[in-house]
Subunit: 333 residues, 2 copies
């Protein structure tokens, strides 16, 4: 295992410390228990949004804390859900009386722990609504999931819901936006290499030198199949076909195309993936009205990428374009 | 070699195609010869800035084309300087009569080819000034360089010079800013793994399982020494000591701290590096007034990082804060 770390058991705490120091204009971190909040939290009158989950997917979620997106993020241990305690603490830290939306990726541990935290917060008089994301079309159930997994589409849910909260929508309205994005986004990924969880010290799965995993999960959990390495355009076809068919997006519709790097893949390769994915959409008469290329939901140093397609309506396009000011996503402000 | 590419010889063209398609609101690409310009180039009355060099360092340079930074970027083949022809074409495409600044990383091929292009542009009546960046303190001469190498500090030169040009400075003034940043920034990097140039198909150098290279170049060219893998904080100490001693920055001064990922290193690790680097500065009584953490000058999928420290004065701080709107760096607009 070759990593720029100190003690493998300190990686989350030390990374959060560095993150908070680098972005002290935008966020502050708490450590007992560990979570990250907007520097100006709680924001009076605004619905607050909390997300979180296992670490190792950076910038998800802490990188999206700030104006126009999340009010707090709760990083668990690497690839492991945070317990209810920090989720509750984060929820209380950001609640300004207008209610709190929990955005939860669909993994058994996350769903359970966010539920418990929501119940505890409700018991303290905080109005909490939860939206669970499950945009990954690759597999129905998996290693850590009943139902589909929440992956990179979660970032689009967080951006749209965050913009809705920032413009003053009610908790019910913000939750509706989050659900609408989740219902209209599909994702599928590919891994070229495994990743190494620091405290494990060994690759989480094995791939031969000429083998890739289609439909990989963001924790390295199995996807649909291992196939021989092939040209990028053919790999993109393998990801786009199930995404588009499951989304049932049609000629004449608008889409946001997100090409996400898994952490260890050069930007050059992500643009080669984007190039063909955009062509596939154009060939179907679907307009790529918005796009994003970069590492938004990673899997440590895994090489690979995922492709997300979000069906856009006018409101979702406006919410995507709305000002955002977070460590990882920033525009219009 | 495991990469998301098609034919290894098409990687630059296809990546630039994807890049231009993803960012068509900001840039357009030309392909015969290949370069990327601001969508609104030439910008009337403004000094234009052109940079470029071998591909494989993305987002450098094309990712920094846009408002407040570069007017054009010229990507050569992977790790190979562009020829004078595309540099001249880019220079002509962005010239608006106020002159053109070439920002050139100090590698023999780049310096030579930009010089030739500048001479040809001058012969056509375009006023060109060149600033060569050489921020890497690791080695004096190296595989492709006489003198020090230009590395991640180049991004800070491009940001400040771009902001100066955007506010209306003359060519001489913009060049002075670029030189001032270069004179006040120092960088040193470390590699944990080598990278594979697509058309070569083999790692560019070898590192044992427990070995890292201190002072690595961004093409994998040798640094100061290979040492055994150790804790991140100790590695950071090895990078910070020569950077700070060469920069001769003193107690009471302000700095911009840039932690740059080499391409394959998770963001989590970059923040662990940032954490200790910021502590080293604080311990010396140097204020980290600005910071940036992310992949700005990469080396394909190499795992590793570099640390740059820029001595800030009031004007350089203002130029860093000034609005920028490029694919890879965006704020205030």
């Amino acid at each position: 295992m070759k990593k720029l770390i100190n003690d493998p058991h300190d990686v989350v705490a030390q990374s959060v410390e560095g993150f908070a120091a680098a972005h002290s204009d935008l966020v502050r971190a708490e450590f007992d228990p560990t979570f990250v909040v907007r520097a100006d939290a709680p924001v009076a009158g605004k619905v607050a949004i909390v997300s979180g989950g296992g670490s190792g997917h950076e910038p998800l979620h802490a990188g999206f804390v700030g104006f126009g997106m999340l009010d707090a993020a709760v990083p668990g241990p690497v690839f492991t859900s945070p317990t209810p305690d920090p989720i509750l603490a984060a929820t209380k830290a950001v609640d300004a009386g207008a209610g709190v939306l929990h955005i939860v990726k669909n993994y058994t541990g996350d769903v359970l722990n966010f539920e418990t935290a929501a119940d505890l917060a409700e018991a303290e008089g905080i109005d909490v609504t939860s939206v669970v994301t499950n945009d990954d079309v690759a597999v129905q159930d998996s290693l850590y999931t009943a139902g589909r997994r929440g992956v990179a589409g979660t970032v689009l849910v967080e951006k749209a819901a965050g913009a809705a909260a920032q413009r003053g929508d009610s908790l019910a309205e913000v939750a509706e936006i989050a659900r609408r994005v989740n219902e209209n986004v599909r994702t599928m990924g590919v891994a070229l290499t495994p990743c190494v969880v620091p405290h494990a010290g060994e690759p989480s799965f094995a791939l031969a030198d000429d083998e890739i995993e289609i439909g990989i999960g963001i924790h390295g959990e199995p996807g649909r199949e291992k196939v021989a390495l092939e040209e990028a355009d053919r790999i993109v076809d393998r990801l786009m076909q199930p995404v588009l068919s499951d989304l049932a997006i049609e000629t004449g519709e608008d889409a946001l195309l997100l090409v996400n790097g898994m952490g260890g893949t050069p930007l050059m390769e992500l643009y080669i993936v984007y190039r063909h994915a955009a062509k596939v959409l154009a060939d179907r008469g679907i307009t790529v009205a918005r796009s994003h290329v970069g590492n938004v939901t990673t899997s440590l140093e895994m090489q690979g990428a995922s492709i997300s397609v979000l069906r856009l309506d006018d409101e979702l396009r406006e919410l995507w374009d709305a000002p955002v000011h977070t460590p990882a996503l920033r525009w219009g402000r």
